[in-house]
Subunit: 157 residues, 2 copies
């Protein structure tokens, strides 16, 4: 059983010049029930089906299972997904010993930028980049599965 | 896109002596939203993840996508499934040019026996076995995904 330990933050500032990689991601959810999500993702010419379990009480750890699948099959499966598809560019930024994944959303979630850092344990220390804003780990509104049903463009209405 | 065309019937009578194969199946649903189900199944030492789309208006055709996955991973994924797991024995019965899959449920769905025949088109003719009962094609109560949340043992209360 693979556990994912990560902390999630909003981004306030310019991070793009520090990025070592940028990839376009399109993803959707076959389901996003409490306790389990099934995600279809295309990313840089490859595609994946991912199952995630529920987060722990503080939102850090989630069971995650992933399989690569053919891109044309992923495109068929994306048509079955609920809600809106999520479109974003993922930038990779190195800071000290850690890699930050910074997702800049487009489409209906334009304006939202979220950074995630993966950790080996829930209390592991890491160097904070200057552009790292408020922590939103465990806040369900920033789950991509929530955004597919409740896009960021509607939050400010 | 693979389409599954099948008709489904209740079973009234003895079919086991005619079976050419019998396999134990355990399955669960990561989700069973209208329009899409994601199923995890173990069957005779192998395991599969299957996505099914919604049925056509008469319940005959459903989009279906399936990948074989390792059995140990399927067992982890079954723990994430909603509702009760479905346990059944699948018998294969040849009748004329067709194969009938006859599912005899156990556990919370004991007493229920359903036969399915796969067809090349929605109007293809087939020879009816003597034990074939009422047609229930398209009746959502006989979907395994419905049974996992509403087991047959509770129907008669």
């Amino acid at each position: 059983m693979a556990l994912e330990i990560e902390r999630k933050f909003l981004v306030n500032g310019e991070f793009r010049d520090e990025a070592v990689d940028a990839t376009r991601i399109v993803q959707g959810y076959l389901c996003s029930a409490p306790g389990r999500t099934v995600r279809i993702r295309t990313r840089g010419g490859r595609a994946y089906l991912t199952v995630k379990g529920s987060a722990g009480p503080e939102g850090f750890s989630r069971y995650e299972w992933e399989k690569e699948i053919p891109v044309d099959e992923a495109e068929e499966l994306l048509k079955l997904c609920e809600g809106a598809l999520i479109e974003k560019t993922r930038f990779i930024v190195k800071q000290g010993d850690h890699l930050f994944e910074v997702d800049e959303f487009s489409g209906e979630n334009a304006g939202l930028i979220i950074a995630e850092v993966e950790l080996k344990s829930e209390d592991e220390q890491f160097e904070r980049p200057a552009w790292l804003g408020e922590e939103v780990t465990g806040d369900h509104r920033y789950y991509n599965s929530f955004l597919s049903g409740n896009p960021y463009s509607g939050w400010r209405c």
